[in-house]
Every structure is written in structure tokens, then in C-alpha cells.
Symmetry: D2
Subunit: 324 residues, 4 copies
């Protein structure tokens, strides 16, 4: 079975997403807003910054916004595990879309400035950690002033009494605020990418594009050897690949945990639906958190035995036997 990146399907998948009000992990100018701005139409929509991932998600659940963009992987402004736990356990939300954003920092100032003039630098502690080697070498004398986010640090430069001479922040916020960029690309590790997801209340699932991902949460029924293998057999016997797996304590007892898993494929594909149905039997508490286009557009080569055709043929065979 060949699977392709069907352009029409990708457009259709995006139409599910179109919204007029979004929340995101703020303040304005964070990498999370940069992720949100990658969503077609989001630049024209209302964008509500939230003080935390939970607040951003609460705005969706209460209906005040249509969808929320939040970080799902290790990010500068944090919130990762919180996001995973929030959408897996606490909230009833679905993922509509994922976005990858390259994490690159600029050193910005209110006005043009030489590196030598900088005595104090403000940013989030995680942002600071990611430019430390550069800072030790380029501005060794500068003192670090912690801020609650990289965007807040940038904004602090414009206050009456600026919190610092310069800020380490995203290119986006520097541009939004009209700051002067002293130096670009100051991150110690280049090419780092963070993953964000757009979540909304359960509703229509973005149509299959041929390069999709499905996120699920599976509470493990028992804490014993082989329990995870039993789960994985359901994927393996249907040729379903894992993109990510994480065990997380459920927080409500001894030895109980859940698995947060991303798999390749869309719930409209027979092999994915069949695998999830199999797991539902052994873990009825399984939660479907969304099928959505992969940001990296990677497709998977499927063998004949896990094609939709193979599932259809198998079902027809059983039916013919039962109704002979």
C-alpha cells in the first residue's frame, strides 16, 4: 500500500483547525506564540496569552477560546510534563495539530548597543542555560537577571526602569517589540527543535493525510513483567510503529502508572483502529487524544499484511465462513 502526502487532504486537515480565538502559553512573543503563528490563519485570529499551560487549557475547556497551543516536549519555557499530564489525565481535550519550532535566541536591547556595554542580561533561567557557553565567552562580565519568561525579559527592557541592559529572547518578541538585535543565533546548540500541539475540545478529527500521528494514554492495568509487552503486541501484530513512549506515575497510588504513546498512523486506518480496539479490551481506560498530520511529513512504508485491504479481506473471509 502506498501512502502519500495528499495536498488536498492536508488542506482539509487544516480546515478542521480553523478557529477565531486561540490561547497559548504566554506572554506574547514566546516560542509557543511562534508555533501558533505557524497555523494558517492564526495571524489574523485573536491570540490570548495564558500564564501557564493549565490556564491555556482551561480557556479551551470553558469555551472562551477555540483551541490552545502548548509545548509538549522539552521547551525553553517549560510546561512539558504538565502538558502531558494535563491532556492525558485531567482534561478531555484532543490534539488537532503539531508544530515544530526551531529554538534560536537573539540578544536584544532597547537601542543599538555593543556587547562590551552590556552589564546585565535578563531572561528565563532555562533560556539562560541554553546560551551560557556563548555568554561566558562573549559577555563574561554580564550579570544574569531572572525573568518569568524570555518574552517578559524582552518586555522588561522597555519599562521606565529597565530590568537589564539586554535580554535573551525569541526573534519573534524582539520583532514584535521593535527591539534592536545585538546578536542572532546565540544558542549553544544549534538546530534544536521544540514540539508544540494545538488542542481543542473533542470534535471532528482532522482527516487522514497519509502522514499522520495518533496520541493515546493507556493506564496500565497491572504492575507486572510483561504488561507493557502485552500492550505492544497489539501494535506489533498490526505493524503499528511507536514514535514516542513514556511511562508516567498516575499520581494516585503506589506503583500505578500510565503510558503516554504516539503512534504512526490515523484512526481512520484499519490497522490503527484494530490495534486500539485490541488495547481497549485489556485497558478499557485507554484515552484517544487525537489523530493529526505529522509536522515532519514523514510517511511509513506499509507491508501488504497491514494495509486496509488486508483488513477488509480478512473481515470478508470471516463473514463468509459465519454465513455459509
Amino acid at each position: 500500500m502506498s501512502r502519500s502526502n495528499d495536498p488536498a487532504a492536508i488542506v482539509a486537515a487544516q480546515s478542521v483547525v480553523s478557529a477565531s480565538r486561540y490561547s497559548f502559553l504566554g506572554p506574547a512573543g514566546t516560542f509557543t506564540e511562534a508555533a501558533l503563528l505557524q497555523v494558517p490563519g492564526a495571524d489574523q485570529a485573536e491570540r490570548v496569552p495564558a500564564g501557564s499551560v493549565l490556564t491555556a487549557l482551561n480557556l479551551v475547556e470553558s469555551g472562551e477560546v477555540d483551541a490552545a497551543m502548548v509545548p509538549i516536549e522539552n521547551s525553553v519555557e517549560g510546561g512539558v510534563t504538565a502538558t502531558l499530564d494535563a491532556i492525558s489525565v485531567a482534561h478531555e481535550l484532543h490534539i488537532l495539530r503539531e508544530e515544530l519550532v526551531e529554538i534560536s535566541f537573539v540578544l536584544a536591547a532597547a537601542a543599538p548597543l555593543a556587547l562590551e556595554q552590556i552589564r546585565t542580561v535578563s531572561t528565563h533561567t532555562h533560556g539562560w542555560a541554553q546560551v551560557r557557553r556563548w555568554a561566558d565567552s562573549a559577555i563574561p562580565e554580564a550579570e544574569f537577571v531572572p525573568a518569568s519568561s524570555t518574552a517578559a525579559a524582552a518586555r522588561g527592557l522597555l519599562e521606565e526602569t529597565p530590568v537589564a541592559d539586554a535580554a535573551v529572547c525569541s526573534p519573534l518578541v524582539a520583532q514584535q517589540l521593535g527591539l534592536s538585535v545585538v546578536q542572532r543565533g546565540i544558542e549553544d546548540v544549534t538546530g534544536a527543535v521544540t514540539r508544540f500541539v494545538l488542542v481543542s475540545r473533542p470534535g471532528a478529527i482532522p482527516p487522514m493525510t497519509g502522514a499522520d500521528k495518533t496520541t493515546i494514554m493507556i493506564p496500565l492495568p497491572q504492575d507486572r513483567a510483561g504488561a507493557l509487552m502485552e500492550l505492544l503486541e497489539h501494535f506489533a501484530t498490526r505493524g503499528v510503529n511507536l514514535c514516542r513512549i513514556e511511562s508516567r506515575p498516575t499520581g494516585d497510588g503506589l506503583g500505578l502508572y500510565y503510558f503516554s504513546i504516539d503512534i504512526e498512523g490515523h484512526i481512520e486506518e484499519a490497522r490503527v483502529a484494530d490495534a486500539l480496539a485490541g488495547i481497549h479490551r485489556i485497558a478499557p481506560g485507554i484515552r484517544f487524544l487525537g489523530s493529526y498530520p505529522r509536522a515532519d511529513r514523514k510517511t511509513q512504508l506499509l507491508t501488504a499484511e497491514v494495509s486496509d485491504e488486508a483488513f477488509t479481506a480478512a473481515a470478508a473471509w470471516i463473514s463468509s465462513l459465519r454465513h455459509a
Copy 2:
């Protein structure tokens, strides 16, 4: 899910079997006919002895009889592997029923006789092998005269020139021919049981009784480590137990073989149907050879996760997600 030996279902299962003409591995009086006579109504039906398992099956395929009783496991008159290969590969036949027959031998003569008077004993070589310890001790001087079956040996006693003084045969043939039983229960190993199956052309499947068995034939797609495991995972993930497994060369090439497998359960049960559908994807050449009541009436305790209810709930869940 509780499963019981539903008497009404057992009766219903038998009604599928009711036939007016049967073939069996003959001649008259073999253990195979004894198995056939255990089928309700067979004592009133026409019973056609066949010279070999293949002949018995051919009579079914050609429509000359409705069903054939043949040995499926190690038996006195042989034919086991032949039966398995015949119904798995060559013929398009279904198993309707299985019968267990206790293999017990009598020493019979045309007229009352003392053991000391016996100089020659006729029987099938396999029958002779099963009473050798008794014969060595009870009639050490008697000479063995081979016959083509235990029943033929019995019949030979009544010829004008009898082939021997006595015959080792089934209680059935001794009774049918009105022979005098010199000694009963002369088998060296008591309690041995042989399994026979009743096969017919594909048609209605005997209804589920709560203690059923399903026989399948699976050509292995590839000769490599793990290929069998891949098959078995489909059973294990649905809680389907094996009763019997045998690998057999297909006879048409190097390294190619098929698996003959009996599993617990009936194709009307969701877990059985789901497992067979899964295997159909990886081995589309799989052949269904019948679902039928177990002769031993053993039931299996099913866990909740493989009950029909669990399959129904899982399918409903997937459907609710897809049509949100």
C-alpha cells in the same frame, strides 16, 4: 463471560450432523465404525465402509455419502497423518464433530475356546503391537498372522478355511459377527483413547455449545525465526488456547510447511473470529476446517478482556471516536 454446556445448543449442534449416508474407514467393525455409531442416529443410517481414509473422504466429496468418520489421531488402523494432510491440503471438507473411542481389545474365536488351544492369532500389526505383552504371557506359543485390519482378522475366523484360531479385534466386530469372546480387555495399556472426526462438505457450521473446538490449517508464509511466534501472538492477544499444534511439510518444496492447529472456542465467538482475521492478514492461505463441540465437553474460563462483551465495547468505542 460465563460459558456453559448448553444442552439445547448441543442438540442443535447435532442436528447439523444428521445424515442418512455415512462412509467410514472400514471394514465393518473397526474402531472407526464404533466412533460412527456414537453419532446420534448413525445406527439407523447407511454406513459405507471404505478401504482407506482417502476413499472415505472421496465418497463425501463426490456426494455419494453425506459425511465420513475417519481417525485423526494415532489409531490402531492408522491413517492419522493421511487424514490430517487430506483434510488440510487436498480436500475442501469441514469437521462437524469429534468422537473419542476407548481402545480396548478382545481375543475372539469362532466358538468357545481355551487359551491353551490357540496356536495362531490374526490381527492388524498395530493391534498386535498393542497386546504383545499380554500375548507373550498368556499365549506365548501362538503364532501371529497379519491381517489388513482387526475387523478383517475377525471376519477371517468365519471363512471356510479360517486364517487363524483366534483374532485380536474390537468388541464391536466380535459382537457384530457373533464371535465367542475368549478374553476381554487384553490391551497392554488400558484407558487409551483415539480421536475420530466426522467430516462433510462445507455448509452450516454446528452452533456454539460453550465447549467447542476449531481446527485450522495455516501455511507458514516464511521459514524464519519468529514466524510461528507471530502466528501465536494473534491467539495469545485474544486469549485463545491451543489444543494441538503440528508442523507438517507441504510436500511441494524445500523448507515449506503448514501448521495444523486445534484451538479452543467457536468461530461465532468474537475472540476466535478476531484471531483468525488477524492471521488471515499474514497468512491469507489459512483454511478453516470447522468449529464443532468438544468430545470431552471441557469448558474454558475466559477473562473479561476476551469476552464477546469486551470486543463489542471496543468496537463501539472506535466507532464513537470515528464518528464524533
Copy 3:
């Protein structure tokens, strides 16, 4: 790891076998004797025909002969299941060697004879079943006279009162007795091959040749779904292929059975030894029945991860960690 058919090793493997007295499933001239005559030196050794597989094996156990040749697969003279059960359960014997013999029949007579002259034909019932199509066409009027073996039928032609005009038998016995061959190759299915094994008391194992087979018997600890899979995982995780698998009732209770298994490889290979050790933990009743050269000399392509080198490297790594 490259594995080859090392000629020196093959010679060495044969030297383990060299014996001066053999038993075999007789009488003289059976296909079993033909298999025995394929063993280097056996034509010069004493060959003791036995009336049954069990008798042949008893002669080995008691020390009266050094080794016994018996059929292990479907054969004309039977004995297959008996052999498997005998060496798996009852006896403490090891397989030293396997032989493949092509099953081809001749129609033989005491003196040159035309087909038209033949009124009666003697042979074993199983032999008769294998030439029936030919007989129906070539000698349709001939009557079948059962014999206890094909060889006995041949010998019966030379008696004072011959049992029949001709016999269906092996080319070997026709040659041994100086019979006249009326027609060669009369078997209905050509190319059929039967497998025989040479067994002896436990002792030195034939050295590895690069194309070997290991036979084991594993009593299944529990009758439940997944029990067999648990066994097979031990093979699969070491890349050990199966050549044959059969479940057999142990005969001592309800629902208890054992698996008779042939695997590719020799116990001197790390992957085989490691797999058997793993199974020994879950089924301590496992019995090793021999590692011996494959008759078909087929070699297996091993991946790096299951080579002896990989096992040695892994053990060295663990040792280095433990003794840091």
C-alpha cells in the same frame, strides 16, 4: 558468522556413530534397513532386525546393540508416533544421526512374470495404500493379501506355499532375496522421502558440522494461552529456527501435553545453549534428545546478533560491569 559444511567435522561427527552392532525396525529389507545401510560402516556391522520400534530401542537400552535405526516420520511400516513417544518420554536415548530415504516401491516376484499373470499381491496395508492408483490401473484384477511388512511379503514369495504371486516391497529386499523385479517405481507419489533416526545411549555428542539439528522434548508446565509463546520467545530472542513442532498428550492426565521440537543448530552453539538454558528455567523437565548433522545439509544464515561472538561479547560486558 559464516557457517559451512566442514568436511572434517562431518567425518568427525560420523566417528561418534561408528558401532559394531545395530538394531533396526525389521524384518531385513525394510526401508529402515535401507536407512541403516546409509550409515558408513553399517554394511559391515551386525544388523539385528526387531519386531517393533520399542523392541529395537530396548535392545539399545539393554546394551545388546550399540544403536538403533527407527523411523521418526510418517513411514510405510509405521511406528512414527511410537518412536517419538518412546524416545521423548519412556527411554533415555540420544539421536546421533538422521537419514532420509526415498520411498520407492517395486513389484517383485519369485520368477520373471507378466503383469497379466498376477492374481494376488501381498504387502503391508500402508504400502498397498501407496500404490493403489497404479494397482487399480495396471493390475485391476489382483487381490490384496496383507502382510506384516513389505519385507515379510517379499519373503512370503519364497515359501513353499507362496502367500501371493507377487509382492510390493522395497528395492532393497528384492535385491537381498534375489527376486525378479516385474516393475520399478510403482508408487503413486514419486519423490516421497521418509526420515529415520539412529539412536543410542547418551554419550558423546556428534561434533558440530555447521548444518546441525537439535531435538528436544518439553513438557508444558501449564495449559494456558501464551504458554507455548513463552517457550517460543526463548528461541526467537536467540534467532533459533524451528524445523518441526508437535504437541503430544503425555498420556498421564487431562490437558497435559509435551512438545516435541526440532531446532536448527547444535548445542555447542551459544544461541542454542542459551535458548535451552532459558527454557530449562520455565520447564525443568525439558529433555535433550541429541544434536546431530542435518541429513539435508541445509545451513542457516545467522545475523550478527546471534553469533557466538555476540554471546561472548555480551558475557564479557556483564563481567566487566560486575567486577569494576
Copy 4:
């Protein structure tokens, strides 16, 4: 096999740890230092605060300190993923010990103060997120002043120009600095526990205590369905339970990732060593990151088939066969 919490072994395990100089994720008074102070003798040892997890680990690698205490799970001061990646990929370090610390916050001030008097509160953004519900209710008017750590916020209260009226910090730092505790236990979720690990250069492994954990890093050889299952089979066939599993991108290419895994048991146990050796064959890049006592002292009930005795018996059996 019974396994117990052997007090002598626990003492022995601690002796491996005894060190005179430690680094930890600073500054002084963090929860990480609280974890360090749970190590016997650490209160008397030199404790060097480090600005980041990487700095703390670098101090160990360079030999400036003997061991470092760093957070390994979701923590107030962050660093989790960094820690995992650091010890899994970048550094050659072993875990000697794990510590669980209950995360409870106090509201502290330089001098006794009523809640009503508080206008500004300083703390780390993650700390602030964990007391937000309490703050919204108890000090709704107070403004949040971000700090680079909870301990830095506490220290800021004592500066000439205090950064805020009060600080949200650990009980430890409040005590160390002699601050006045306005309110205890202000965390929104009580009972939260964070896990920390003590790492050092590879050397002696803490002896087995009967309730141990082993941490490993496994680069996945191939990105395909079943690859993880193949790994897990090695644990399952030895009855080795998982405590935690996380897939992480290796950061050096497309689709390549590693698994960070904690398993139950100690490398001195046969089942653990055998499983790791098995995985070494398929993933030679596997890294052992330490066997150490479990902080929760939970023991595992082992079945006979995975006891050290079972492994010893299996090895003895193989040896007896090979040297017959």
C-alpha cells in the same frame, strides 16, 4: 526465592557512597540540597552548589567532587530531561543512590509578617505555578517577582534592597537563612514527591540489598514496529519488571532515539544480568548507568523460574550435556 531488605546490605550499599565532597543543583537550600542531606554523612561533607545540572555533573567528571546530587524527575527547579540526556548520552557516570524528597513549600519573610501585609512574592516560576491556587485565595493582591530558583528568592529577602516582601521556598532554605515562616504547606497538591539521583564516576557498584533498581540506556538499532518489543522480550522472558521507560531522540539524526529504562533488580542478580546480556547482543551500544537501592524499599516477589537458583540449575544442565 525470598528477597528481603537486608539491613547489613543497606549499610554496605551506603558505604560505597560515602564521599567527602559533593556537588548539587544549587543554590544552597534547594530541594536538591535537601535530597543530598538525606545521604548519610552528607551533612558533614563539603557541598558545592552548581548553577546547572551539567555544571554539577562536570564537577564530578573532572574529579573536583566525588559525587553529584541532581533531579531525575519533574522538579521545581527543573533539569529533568537535561539530567536524563546528560547521564545517558554525554557523560560516563553511574548512579549510586536515589532519594525521594517531599515537595512542600513555605511562605517565608525576613521578619514576622501577616499575610495581609504582603504586596510582592518572589520565587521560581515553577514554584509559583505550584502554589497558585493557594496564592489566588490567600494573597490575591500580591505581585509575583520571578527568581532564578526558590532558594535565590529566599536569599533575596535578606538583601539591602529586598526583591520582595516574601518568598515561596523550601523549608530547608528558610531554616538555613533563619527566615520567619509565615505559612507552611502552601503547595496546591500535597504529597508530591520528587526523585533525585546521586551520580559518580564508574567504580564499585553498591551491593545488592534485595530491593534494588538498575538504570540503563538503550539506543534502538532500528526504527521499526516490534523493535521495542524485541527489547522487552528480553526482560519479560527473565521476569524483569520495568519501573520507568522513556523514549528520547538522540539528537543526531532523523528517527533515531534511545530508551531510558529503570528496571527492578540488581546486576548481581542472574535474571538482570542475563537480560542485559541478551539486549547487548541486539543493541551493543547499551549503557549501564547503575544498580542501587530503591528509595521506596519496595521488594518484588520472584517466581521460582527467575530465581538465581533456576539460572544456576539451567547452566549446570547445559554444562552436563556438553561435557557428557
